[in-house]
Amino acid sequence: MSERDARPVESAAMKLSVERVSKAFRNDRGQVVALEDVSLQVAEGEFVCLVGPSGCGKSTLLNLIAGLERPDAGRVLADGHAITSPGRDRMVMFQESALFPWLDVLDNVLFGLSLKPGLSNADRREVARAYLKLVGLERFTLANVHELSGGMKQRVALARCLAPNPRVLLMDEPFAALDAMTREQLYGDIQTIWQARKKTILFVTHNVREAVCLGDRVLLFSASPGRIREEFSIELPRPRDINSVDVARYATEITRALRAHLQPQAAS
């Protein structure tokens, strides 16, 4: 405990702080080191993308920050406080929408809100409707989940995440299963929403272009053990277009770096 008190103050001003975190999983073939000595600072309102090959521990890092897993070593802090459990201030958007099939669209968005104290039910419905409008689905409030397309499901999931007004959004390859057209639309939406609501966003993807399009910073992960290898600052004006030349230029550079980190492993 005293160690925490001795931490420098500037660490507390940061929204998220991952300090020398390691995490291993046990499976049938033995132990898999998902993360080894990973450190990361994310400033308030920053949009950070984590890129790397599958199985490099990106999602594990997200789960640690979400509080769904606990680190074997190191610390994960939100506003200087150790994260010990999931919390409303850090919402997660998963690759699959994880919408509840037994609820209609509005009730899905209301689920998170209903767990938030200090609101009347009328307030909650109003907030839920407003967020469904924000993601362009106000006409689908009474629809069943199975009636929605993949892109619409992810929009509802986004509305569900945003409605309780979290301070951090953790996005685990949320657009990976969508077609290119829908994805490009959502890149626009997410940038608009992020700029309007100033949330801290940590975005996991294996799509370099997507990372460049969205992130203030792009962190490159390598696998086994999962480590942050390199960091790129993306200095492009917003909103960015995934098909722009500037995005492509950054993406080429990062892809080259990614390949360089992958090669030694491919040889072994």
Binding site: L68, E96, W102, D104, F111
Partner: protein, 254 residues
Amino acid sequence: MKRALAALVFFVALLALWQILASARIWSPVLLPAPARVGEYLAGAVADGSLPQAIVVTLRRLFLGYLLGVALGLPLGLVTARSKLCEDTLGILALGLQTLPSVCWVPLALIWFGQTESAMLFVVVMGTLWSVAIATDNGVRTVPPIYARAAQTMGAGRFTVWFRVILPASLPFILSGVKQGWAFAWRSLMAAEIYVTILTGFGLGHLLHYGRELSAMDQVIAIMIVITFIGVTVDKLLFFPWERFLHRRWGTSK
């Protein structure tokens, strides 16, 4: 409308086939009475009140035992799905007892409770409980873990995860479990009523039993029809609305 018509045509055809077989006299009327004979018996039994009374007695036993069985089976399934210890102990017990035909409980019930309503109730509860527990257990296990994780990140505690996520998520399985439980409750009660003669109420099983004793085939067939009819009616009234709701919500039928 079209579907109702198809059903009507089917059952009328079935009745006609029966009439033809009975008229052809391939078997003696003692073995296969004509539909009209069975109808006569039914009309008589309704008129003298013996059939309505038997239906009331049987349904009362059935619902009491069934509700008790579901009330015990649901929580049992929940704990066996979630606790390894319960899975290895109660879970194995439930699996074993589910395979035990419910009529096997009758001798034990007779010795323990004598020829009483309690014996009947016990047999029905035992017939229902284990299959409901196993279906619930099965349903809870098939709930994708991501639902609970998503709920946790939205601030759901244990209680909320249980009652607002895991339970509704396993509804399709639970429904098929309670439906199966209903069928088992019927089987158990009929077995009990056929084997256990008690004076506190004459049920459909007893009518069936005495039909056999008297070699009154019209009575036997009539009671079997009544039992089948009640089974279908209850299914349509009790379970069908739920099934329709679940199919719509989950998108599991057109």
